[in-house]
Amino acid sequence: MNLVMLTARRRAEGAIARTIRFPRRLRERIAADAERCGRSFEAHVIAVLRRHYGEDVDIAPAPSVIIARARASLSGLGRAERRMLTRHLVEGDGG
């Protein structure tokens, strides 16, 4: 599980992702609590961390998911359309 904490300061410094491994018994306790609260395992871990620390904890999608979204944003487009979407902001740019 990659958890990312994003406080205002950390947003500027860049997010930190860490993989967390839970001992089996703790994992089972969290899973039971999550089920009781009607949350997924990940959502419950985030809820606990947010409640305890009051910070904006988030789960980073897998690198492959992030890159797939980037690619899907331009996929199948012709050269002219791609150029239209990736044009730089320059002075005197009226469209």
Binding site: A70, S73, H88
Partner: protein, 145 residues
Amino acid sequence: MSSAPVLLDSDTLSDLSRGHPVVTARATEYLERHGRLTVSAVSIFERLRGYRAALRLGKPLHEHLRQFELFAATCVVLPVDARVADEAATIWAHLGRRGRRLVGDILIAATASVQGIPLVTRNRRDFEPMTRVGGVKLGLVDWHR
């Protein structure tokens, strides 16, 4: 690869979106370490205005826009705030006529300088003069090689 965070410029973001194999490999490695890519609000603006303009022309790019918005939501997006505006003005004043036209690049360079993080770009020609402006702390990194 360094463990320090970096800011991707608009060209690098475009190359990643086009599936450039080397950029994709570097981005994957970076994401495994940092969890998220860091980009400027200027790069987000540049792409969003393209989609919105295309949609106004009747081009069916709704799904492409949605995918870009999903992608952007996974990024750390650094804003153009008062400090960035001040740094950008300093850079702009030191550039020649051609350089001054590159408003987006100037704002992105200023963002990297203010945050003290390197800028990932293949465009050394345009960014190099900005590294020589007094007081500006701008390091350039190339993910294309």
